[in-house]
Amino acid sequence: MARKYWKGLEELKETPEFIKHKENEFPSQQTVEAFLSSDNLDETSTGRRDFLKFLGFSVAAATLAACEAPVTKAVPYVVKPEHVTPGMPTWYASTYYDGSSYASILVKTREGRPIFIKGNKDFGLTKGAVNPQIIASILGLYDSARLTGPMEKGNSVSWATVDGSITKSLKSAKSVTLLSNTIISPTLQKQINDMSMTLSANGQTFNHIQYDAVSYSAIRNANAQNFGAAVIPSYNFSKAQTIVSIGADFLGTWLLATEYTKQYGLTRNPDSKSMSKHFQFESFMSLAGSNADYRAMAKPSEYAAVLSYLIKGLNGKCAVKSDLDSATKKIADQALLSLKSSKAKSLVVCGSNNTGLQLLTNQLNQLLGAYGTTIDLSNDLKLFKSDDAKVITLAADVISGKGPDALMFLGVNPVYSLPNGEAFGKALKNIKTSISFAAYSDETASLCTYICPDHHALETWADYMPTNNHYAIAQPTIRPLHDTASIIETFSVWAGKSIRLGKDSQTAYNLVKENYEKRFPMGDFAYSTHNSCEAITGEVNTLTAFKEGNVTNLPASSDLEVILYQKSAIGDGRQANNPWLQEMPDPITKATWDNYITMNPVEMKSQGFVTTYDQEHGLSLATVTVNGNKVTLPVYPLPGQALKTIGIAVGYGRGANGEVIGKAAFQTKEYGGHAVDANGTLKPIGVNVFRFVSNENGCLNYDVIGKLSKEEGSYSIAATQIHHTVMARHSIVRETTLPIFTQKGKEAYNPAHTLQKLNSEGHHEEVPNSEFDLWDAHPVEKIGHRWGMTVDLSSCIGCGSCLIACQSENNVPVVGKDEVRRGREMHWLRIDRYFASDEEATIGQRKDKDTFSYDKAEIAAENPKVIHMPMMCHHCNHAPCETVCPVAATTHSNEGLNQMAYNRCIGTRYCANNCPYKVRRFNWFNYPSYKKFTEVNPAQDDLGRMVLNPDVTVRTRGVMEKCSFCVQRIQATKLVAKKESRTIQDGEFATACSDACPTNAIVVGDWNDVKSAVYSSSKNDRAYQALEEIGVKPNVWYKVKVRNEENDLLASLQVAKTPAHHEEKKAHH
């Protein structure tokens, strides 16, 4: 019996469509025969003779045109900046903060324009970890929809005009309110304080309210009750031996996920002494949940019971009921066992914004003694200071006409993200002076009197204090592209302390530096800027001893609980106009360009929803009603979704009234252009479900109660899930459990592939695969370099950072929803998500083909295990693609690389057909110029083109492309070593994906250097090669995924099988 891995229900159930399409890697809409036999063909206006004439003319014209050398201009600098060498990158250390994501970053610039962002591994809080949103934010800099200067009532005006009228209005306003996202910049905070003081001195009232669209105020509330300080503590996942997460996606979007991802990665190495045990109780299959060792499905209303069960299990007192169903109880018992053994080295986190649940979480952590080890209350997190109660009051005031005279919006978009945003937007016109600092004329800004656009994060100076003990600096990497102004300068000007100095203003720089010098009298600003950060001791929180809180208002149970979650690419929607992020497949659902209702397929089946889909067949629609608000969305089958719950992602439906927020934020038509509704308004992508957010006990609540009703019609989803199937060859992913890994040998969990051959005595003998070869060995094994990669499936969490980094580094085009739906996405690196169910259903092994039922398999698949597997070109030393290319466009290098010469390629696609890993991508269209991609592909925009990496060719129509192992980086690394007359140091070469990986799951290097990390990693007992049995000798190794769990099934499969195998062998001899 083999474990069955499947990518989608279509594969598991083998729907006829699936069977049909898996044979056809490049689905085309119409066959050639059908096209030629069509009657319409005769009615075409171009006759055959005309066609040949045109053909002849165009060939002649093209030939003539090719004879003339076009004139290319070369424009050198007039005065070259000191640190810029044309053709060489310049790196800047900086800090990224957008209100929800935070990371210490390095920005690569070429000839003064930023083209790539990666994590700063040497300095900073996040130690090199980034997320897809941060890497993709570079594209936002070059968005042509950004405002190019200040606006007054929809008209472009000068800064002088705006400053004049705003200072006048502010002076006359009785009350001024600033609604901002969480401010963690000390310098900006000082400007706000200055303004507050100036206004108060005039007898005016000034309010500063901080508001996060996705709020974590319940954690602050709970800590205020328990410890007397409304703080969010620092969590240290790297110190935790047991991690219990109650609905917190701490690897995706929860709090400072970038830092937690890094810490989590450190504890997930099965080769080290201790590997953490991760329990997840959640309703929606989150990124964290997919990586858990044990995952239980629980509705939000059951979270309290889970916490209570654990508290009681640890001999704590809890008034909350602790009734659990048997499946959850089994896992809760396991969690208890683990918690009891790890005690203080445990960490319990809860993702709900319900104060009661957070109080229970705190109680559990207190019982365990986690405070002081895994939780640090004194070095608290300064992010997410949303004051939900005040926000709700402000919104109500504005709507009822009691709003302030002047209202400013900084980094927030309440018209989009407030539950009553629509009414709020309508009431905004009653505010005398409304000012937005948004970079786009977005939902809120477009309704404001003034828009004073702030710089893009890469254009401005700023300082940040993400935690109490960390001070970070953000430096500009490019001169502002447009006539925008730093918010620091704007506030300073309005307070009358500075004057407007335009694009090259140094006001923000001076103020940040001044602030720095005050904090670090002995510091060197240039040095700190180079490092991007400094350690600091902030104000000390006065904490009281743990005091039990008043647990009330716990989530109520209902027949349909709706979870509003954030996708790791889109988040709260602030980058909804970013085509890279829109096209990034969701780590779990693998869907792109949409939000949808996620529901357990078991439940879907009983309610009559379609549970399978493909490029031609869509999903059923349903309407969800919450609090009188209705949305209609497709229903997506998501195994692992708790029964009686559904999940919907926030962050979609941006620009619902056609606000100018960027081309890629809207739906496009099949042959290009935006889709419009009956009124001619652009159609947004997905639907905004922030309207569902409820106010519970002064907190914005994201787990709500609703009703679901089926709708007619179907909706096509563009998912990468059902493409690139594994064709039932299940030697691709390997997993085991920690007990098997530590107690048994390699044979049990990672047996070598063997084949039989006759030995000298004429007996059959099992020998390793490698002894059979059709071809001579490539001379890459020992001489020169041999570039290799290992991917540790235990560390890989499937976050997608590598995918976006690859897209950014290698100029991978964006193709839009319609093309993704057709299976023509261009990502060089994909992350395969395999669900693992326990039932055998492999083709050819079924006992009774006709009566075999998948029902059993489906029940097992209700809460499946998940494996994330990054898949890119394996650079096989016996590459099947190379042998079939008729023009030798893809060849092997003596460094083990499978090279692709685009200009040689004639597009036969034989190579892609012959690739066992299905990693080759064909350019069906001229993505940089064809009108279909104008809205989605940034390379079609004069400004968007600036983001392209000049060291990588932009491919044209009709050629194949694929992962090159970032050959441009290999060449650059070699050149540096050659110029410095030294060997290449291990770790010096990194591909974009390995650079971006927050958990260091991807290791690359020179395999011929026996001291290299990649060599030792590939010799690890867990190392195996995907599809090793076909003998293509790839240069990529995977390492077996190890789950820290007891699993009888795996044990029976892996442990029981091994001796039997031996016996069989002996018997044969």
């Binding site: 030939t63 090719a66 004879c67 003339e68 050398a69 076009p70 004139v71 290319t72 201009k73 070369a74 424009v75 050198p76 600098y77 007039v78 005065v79 070259k80 060498t85 044309p86 053709g87 060489m88 001379p779 020992k782 001489i783 020169g784 466009a889 060849t891 290098s893 003596n894 460094e895 690389l897 090279q899 692709m900 010469a901 685009y902 200009n903 040689r904 060291d951 990588v952 060719t953 932009v954 090159s964 050959v967 441009q968 060449q971 070699k974 050149l975 070593a977 050659k978 110029k979 410095e980 007359s981 030294r982 060997t983 290449i984 011929n1008």
Partner: protein, 444 residues
């Protein structure tokens, strides 16, 4: 850009621009090899023998110093470190006020070397008095190519005449036959029919001839196709008539002084205007034919040469026309070739010290004439040309000169002796044997 700027591909490369007097001018340098070399390497970016530049002219500088009342040996101290000299010698202090631009220190130059430099400088004839040297008309005639061109026309005329002669002779014969009654009655055929009959009669030679003509047409077609996008002799006009021969030749400025990113980056770099201004702040060319060209630099740099000489800040970049244009799908790195490969600029760009007009892509025949160049046959800037060189150029391995290649050598020697021997069959390990012919070395 219009056709006028889609530049005329000059058919007449100036192969021999040997201005006689220039030879005379250069010949004495042989006897002062060290002095001349050091002058060019260290001094020539600011100093000229007979003309003030960024620094004053150096002709008979020693005499000037001693007659001016400088202390004995003060001039050598000056060269080593002018500030020391200025502190010790009032004359030197006076010299330091000659210009606001401070002179570099050359502590590495010994007294002997300085003397050599100054000896060499003193031996240079003043071009202003040397007569025809500067004013000599440039002989821009290429006998070889004009002959070649003439040949083609000659052949065309000759063959046309030949065909006409054959046809007329044939016609005359035919008329003769008819008039003499030699032709039979049923011979009253049209020309076509007659030709067919004739071709059939002599089918073997006619068939072979047709085959030969057909094959040669095919060959010509493919050769013609092979010339598409061959940019040899491409010579676009430039916004400023920049004479490389004056800068790199006469003044001996090192290529890397202006193209300074050639050792660091993939692009050699077109000098930025501030680099031009290092020298041209002084050399304004007043009264010279090239004054107008220098003014263009001033306008680009936003420099006002009149009065006190100030930068207005009103700069405008110079739009040069790129001469050596590689397609976008080719990655070429200058520093790889110059620093690692040790290739001289001349190998690909030709002898720039003799290029008096706008730069052009030198045809491969020209490049082959330069001493020290690897001889190639394929047209310049084609892939064949690159490949040929990669197949010929030796990589020095295991000689301790480059730690990177020493390691590659060690792996090759220790791990695959037979392959190493195969490589060494021709006595060297070439770039191609180390992978220099692989696609992804230049295409990615």
């Amino acid at each position: 850009m219009k056709i006028s700027n889609i530049q005329k591909i000059k058919r007449m490369p100036s192969k021999f621009i040997f201005v006689f007097s220039l030879l005379v001018f250069l010949s004495p340098s042989i006897s002062f090899a060290d002095g001349g070399g050091n002058f060019k390497a260290k001094c020539s970016s600011c100093h000229q023998p007979h003309k003030n530049g960024t620094g004053p002219k150096l002709f008979q500088a020693r005499q000037k110093w001693s007659t001016g009342g400088a202390k004995e040996g003060s001039i050598y101290q000056w060269v080593n470190n002018w500030q020391t000299a200025a502190a010790n010698d009032p004359y030197a202090a006076g010299v330091s006020k000659w210009s606001a631009t401070a002179m570099n220190a050359f502590p590495e130059l010994s007294k002997v070397q300085i003397d050599e430099i100054l000896d060499w400088v003193d031996a240079q004839p003043d071009p202003a008095t040397a007569g025809p040297a500067n004013g000599a008309p440039v002989v821009d005639v290429d006998p070889a190519s004009s002959e070649e061109g003439g040949n083609t026309w000659l052949w065309i005329i000759l063959s046309t005449m030949f065909i006409i002669i054959i046809l007329s002779v044939g016609g005359v014969r035919r008329q003769l036959k008819i008039s003499t009654g030699e032709s039979t009655p049923n011979d009253n055929l049209t020309y076509t029919e007659e030709f067919k009959a004739w071709a059939w009669k002599y089918r073997l030679p006619v068939g072979l001839g047709t085959l030969v003509i057909f094959l040669s047409l095919i060959v010509t077609l493919f050769q013609g196709l092979g010339r598409i996008n061959v940019v040899e002799n491409y010579q676009p006009s430039q916004p400023i008539a920049f004479p490389h021969d004056k800068h790199a030749g006469v003044n001996g400025i090192d290529c890397k002084y202006c193209h300074n990113s050639v050792t660091k980056s993939k692009s050699a770099g077109i000098p930025t205007v501030n680099v031009c201004m290092n020298c041209h702040k002084q050399i304004n060319g007043e009264g010279k034919p090239y004054a107008a060209e220098v003014k263009k630099i001033y306008s680009a740099a936003g420099y006002d040469p009149t009065g006190s000489g100030k930068y207005t800040g009103n700069t405008k970049p110079i739009l040069w026309n790129k001469v050596h244009v590689l397609p976008d799908h080719v990655y070429f790195n200058h520093s790889q070739h110059v620093v690692v490969g040790g290739i001289d600029c001349k190998q690909c760009h030709g002898d720039m010290t003799k290029m008096s007009e706008a730069v052009k892509v030198q045809p491969v025949e020209e490049l082959n004439k330069i001493e020290g160049n690897i001889k190639l046959s394929k047209p310049t800037l084609t892939m064949g040309w690159c490949i040929e060189c990669h197949g010929a150029k030796e990589v020095s391995l295991g000689d301790g000169k480059n730690g990177y290649y020493d390691e590659i050598h060690r792996r090759l020697r220790d791990n695959d002796k037979s392959l190493y021997k195969k490589y060494l069959k021709d006595g060297k390990v070439t770039v191609s044997e180390l992978g220099g012919w692989e696609c992804a070395k230049c295409h990615y």
